[in-house]
Symmetry: C2
Subunit: 416 residues, 2 copies
């Protein structure tokens, strides 16, 4: 039997560490400069570890795109050969204090956000969200346009945002998320308010900068059109506040949650570095005209790090517009958030849900409760075509298997 | 007896005109250049007509402030003498295609928004919201700081915003309101999202302008700090879409609604230029520390033009944060919006309420329904000190008397 008293104390400690987190966007640097154990030949990907052979096609496309972007290969064929010969290192973002959206491909010369958790001093990383284009590396595309846009992000957007962030002495991300969650964002699939608030924060600093003015203009135009842009800043912020909550003995709180389009994986605070996995789920939602479930890839990306602290699917009641986009009513969204409260240990007082009279969002997935109730985390997510490209938006349910494996490991560790 | 068939047809026509309105912020000009029947000695004020003697102290303070700002007098005493001698013209904003926030004082050399209703070609006006300071002309203050800030608005902010508005070829206000109402703004007392979206709209145009860069910076800093700023743009937009709905025979829809701190006045589409008035109401809400209801002035300002189309108190269910600021629960806010649906003729498909599954906001106050139900419009509003200064935020109920007078006039006109 699990000693619930010990576990509750451990879980309390775990969520207190998460709540004490103070994530500040301090800089934007090259991945190679800052990400631990990064190399020019390293291709980081979303989700738990996976081999090239097992990867879904969209993620494979993005690996190839990443290699083209880096100049590791000059054709798809050459890229594939290099990967097959093991001349590039495939590694999960999550093992490098990093999170990656959707396919999650992150390579050496990409710009990454440097998110510092001021409370604990640790740092986490995420590359830019590619914004409004429906073809993008994170969506599993690797066309020339995609590569050109990645280059634009680094060449034009990065210096502009970096200047603003440095000038303002770092951006308090928790404050923006807290505000945006009260503005119809669930801060995962919808970041409309967060992105607008971000623009308002950086605008004064950019007004008097010596930056190329056309770059500033292009950046503002891109941000205005890219309503989910702020998501990757949120993802790295949440990664930075969850990391210190690892390694708490007896804690049954989930501290990693990530999918690679084939498997959904979790880690648990007390259970070290082991991934517990289950099959990635299909996504239920609404499709762009001309597409249907037969076109869709399975659940993918590290963005479900947001659900670990109560955002996204856990706060869908805070975002009727997101619920609507997924074909749900407000009542269904409220019910969904209430379901998530059944599998979480606490409420997040910083992230509140207006239509529940500002009750805190469900915080801290407790593997005991998942097993007891049979309810698994709801993940808000984009839907990509199995061959790449954004085709819809929906909800995935995490597979029960990873929680079953985790609870077995927990019992084994603590009941010997 | 009122011929309900004729009235319903007329009301339908009235709301269709309102819904067809297409308000675009096209320019910012000096009041004297654009406001009809404006002169250097004209002081426009909020609410129905009122004499100097009858004015509340806060509005008197603002009249004096407006005269100091215009250089019509160089001291309070001289200003008062001039007014008492009838050497300035006091006139309601509403009689000049204009709306004024709170005290509503609008003078010749102030910058005003030029809001054009593209559908009908008419134009409406409103001066700048003075933003974050809790002492301001619209709050009924006239200190040197207040005058200096008014000068800053005209000298620094106006050229910056004017440039952006001209460059973008005019700003579609309905689109921003529509979006903001789904982002926890009720677009009267809370315009946090609308203001952030406005910043995002103007930022690209300001990036490459030849404007003084420090003016651009100061403007962004001011806007970021002034979350209700966009209200005055909304007010003039709504004024522009309601004006063409006047003069519809048999229509019982309210087309003006305004208060001067002494009286609450309405006009009705079919009843010409007559104001029907009742006593201005006390405001129920929450006060800044150190203040209470004994300090408060009565309901004041033309901002309740927003309630005519379903914003503000009519859409409080769209803004749990505003409800919270007024000491209400989400359930109370939902109930309040449902109450407003009982006295309105239609729903506004452009302005929707997320937590009612995007049902349209209650549109078109029908004086018949007000009389039948005894329910009067809820107005979201700021609370100012009786001697001037912002001290809280709350809800006022329009007095029944003005609706009783209007229905009598209606019966008299159409039953002879």
């Amino acid at each position: 039997m699990i000693k619930n008293g010990l576990v509750d104390d451990a879980n309390q400690k775990t969520v207190e560490i998460i709540l004490a987190g103070d994530p500040v966007l301090t800089d934007i640097k090259l991945a190679i400069e800052v990400i631990p154990e990064m190399s020019n030949e390293t291709i980081l990907h979303s989700g738990p570890p996976i081999s090239w052979k097992e990867m879904c096609q969209a993620q494979k496309n993005a690996v190839i795109g990443g290699m083209l972007f880096e100049g590791l290969a000059d054709s798809h064929e050459k890229a594939i050969k290099l990967v097959e010969r093991g001349e590039v290192i495939l590694s999960p973002c999550n093992e490098h204090a990093t999170v990656g959206g959707m396919t999650g491909i992150t390579t050496a010369s990409m710009s990454v956000y440097v998110l510092k958790n001021l409370k604990y001093g640790n740092i986490a990383f995420c590359n830019h969200h590619e914004g409004w284009p429906i073809k993008a590396l994170h969506w599993g595309n690797n066309d020339t346009d995609v590569i050109t846009h990645l280059q634009w992000l680094d060449r034009v957007l990065t210096p502009v945002l970096r200047f603003a962030i440095k000038e303002m002495g770092g951006l308090n991300v928790k404050k923006i998320v807290s505000k945006a969650l009260n503005m119809n964002d669930e801060c995962h699939s919808r970041c409309t308010a967060a992105t607008a608030l971000f623009i308002a924060e950086i605008a004064p600093y950019l007004a008097t900068s010596d930056l190329d003015r056309d770059s500033v203009k292009q950046s503002f135009e891109f941000l205005r059109r890219s309503e989910v842009f702020f998501l990757h800043i949120i993802m790295s912020a949440i990664k930075s506040i969850v990391e210190p909550a690892k390694g708490i003995e007896y804690s049954t709180i989930v501290t990693n949650q990530a999918r690679n389009g084939v498997e959904f994986g979790i880690k648990v605070s007390s259970l070290g570095d082991e991934w517990f996995t289950g099959p990635a789920s299909p996504i239920h939602g609404l499709y762009s005209p001309g597409y249907g479930s037969e076109d869709a890839g399975l659940d993918i990306g590290d963005s479900c790090v947001t659900e670990l602290v109560g955002l996204g699917g856990f706060s869908i009641a805070a975002s009727p517009s997101m619920a609507l986009m997924k074909g749900e009513t407000t009542e269904q969204a409220l019910e969904q958030t209430k379901q998530m409260a059944k599998i979480t240990f606490a409420k997040n007082p910083f992230f509140t849900i207006p239509y529940l009279n500002f009750e805190g969002a469900p915080l801290g997935i407790d593997i005991r409760k998942v097993i007891e109730t049979g309810i698994t985390p709801f993940i808000d997510t984009a839907i990509i075509h199995k061959n790449g490209g954004l085709i819809g938006s929906g909800i995935a349910c995490a597979p029960l298997q990873c929680f079953e494996k985790a609870i077995q490991a927990f019992k084994k560790k603590y009941q010997q």
